[in-house]
Amino acid sequence: MKLNKRGLLLVGLVLLALIGLAIPSYNWTQKNVKQMARLHNSQLSPVIMIPGSSASVNRFDALIKKINSRSQKKHSLLKVKVYNNGKITYSGKIQPKDNEPFIVVGFENNKDGYSNILKQAKMFDKAFNQLAKRYEFNNFKAFGHSNGGLIYTAFLEKYMSKYDVRAKVLMTVGTPYNFSETSVQRKTQMLADFIKNRKNLPKDLSVYTVAGTKTYDSDGLVPEASVAAGKYIYQGVVKHFTQITVTGEDAQHSDLPQNDQIIELISRYVLDQQTQKSKKLKESN
């Protein structure tokens, strides 16, 4: 077989050119991957909300509408419904450029009572597992109204540790940590269990428990003392623990998600603050 010498030389040149291109390619990909990793780690940080008993995934529509109407940033809304047979359905959509969407997780079984709370926490774990896989966020913010806060507490204590995802903030609104008991002297089984397992809570979590008051000691449904019992669970274990009481208009238990003060609190404590630095990062994209 005759080999063309000039041809072999050319093959050598092509191979050399390819190797030559590899060097600037190396620099490019190193830089690109570094930048991507940085963005990736600060990108998607959803607010995952759980409504209270007998409420549906539409429970927070008014709240989210109000938040979106007040800020420049428009948060998208994804609704997730978990059925008793384990089926999970999605409605709504996370917009590709929205890095702080709202995700509302509701359950077919939305009944009251400790045994149901535990079931719902287990179902939430399933939904959360899917969400984390689907959207690959590495941190999120938790928001629970009424019994939604109980589901979150059970979830954080029982299931959270197995995830590579960080819970940054938990805000519960009108959550009856001691159900309808007005005194912590009479601990319900649930509160006793929550206190027993409190060491499993994430250490770098900031917790805000918000109580509404219609009268001096209740929001019309949940006693203020039951909300305040949350301190026996969270205080001293998590990074920050803050109790807030709101009064006035819309402070009745089921009005709380539309309460203007609470929306203010969500914007300030739950949502990411648009700092100068993150703005700059966005512009450079």
């Binding site: 093959v11 390819l18 590899a22 990909t29 991507m36 990736h40």
Partner: protein, 435 residues
Amino acid sequence: MLEQKIIAWGLKVRKWSFLRIIQRTFAVLFPFILIGSFAQVLEFSLLYRDGFLANLTKIYDWLPHYRAFNQLFGGIYMLTAGIISVFAAGLAAKYTAQFAKRDGQIAGVTGMIAFFAICYQRSQNGDQLNFKLELLGFSGLILGLLCGYFVGLLFKWASPELTTDKEHNAALFERSFRALLPITFALIGALVINVLLGLIYKYQVFETINDWLQSQALKQSGVLPVFLLATLTLIFSWLGLSGPYESNTFDSDQSALRNLNYALTHSDLAKVPDKFNANTLYFSFGTLSGTGALLALILALFIVSHRKNNRRLAYLTVFPGIFNANASFMIGLPILFNPFYLVPFLLIPLFNMLIGALLLASGLILPAVYPVLLTTPGVLYSFIGTNGAWVSLLVPLVLLICDTCLYIPFVRFAEKISDAMEAEQRKEGVAHEVK
């Protein structure tokens, strides 16, 4: 003897009239496609924000008006390779008619008009001439060739044989009168096809098939589906069409995104969820020497080709070939519709993927999960996709050399067939050659 048999078979294939017409057509199209290929590399690699050369040179930072340059080369590409099927239809009609000793010139013009008629789209405002652009370009090539071939056949059936090829006025008019019948048939036929095509488009037959293939390509991962889709993609490319892996983009490939997310969170490529997907197998290994391993074929031509035209072809197409812009080479040799080259065109990439799959499974090489720039040379895909793992540069380079060696016997056979063909033609004399 096997060698003799293959050469005899190759000779037979090359004598098929349709293939001979295609070869002549391609020979005329070649310079336009070549210029188009260079323009394409400049447009999409050097002057495009996500292009390979653009990002390596950061040209967008220092070249003033780089967008204008992009448009200039985009225009050159559009007006050469972008409307190549129209010329293919005309030339195929011309050569088919000439083979049958009919009027080639009028047949050629009729072929172009017939193809325009097939691609014609009624416009809404009525003051513009509209065509289905995707059919005018490379992906309409097979349609254009068939259209031209049938127009040529119409001239064969519906017009008498030429007795003279003198071109003085009276004789020309004589020929024009005789061409009226085939022109009419061609136009009516083309418009009927246009209506049928319109129906196919209306009911989105192509879109449905294409969407399904695309969605499979974006959904399926795992060794077997990737091999099947890769095979399909290669057969499609051999026909000049785009297959399931052609327009693959990172942003919509779920499997690639899963891998990327994992890699960015854990920065450990060895344990990504989808070790075998389009990126880690097909783009990293299947196309490491270009679609159908064509860069390896170009290199093989450098080494063993003794035909001057083939060597010249290799010199001219190696630059676009490095950036996987292979249209000119595929038309120049030709590879398109050439049954002889289908075998290595399919098998060599699959061989590369097999080696890649074995290396990936054994953990000797990492899966490519990071995004790679547009028109990145295939050899560098895996290297860049692993964020610069040197093994992933070495292995593809070795495989490129292997591919070149694998192509060498095919080049030798192909050239023996060409030699035999020429010898035969010399024997028969030039009597059969048409001017």
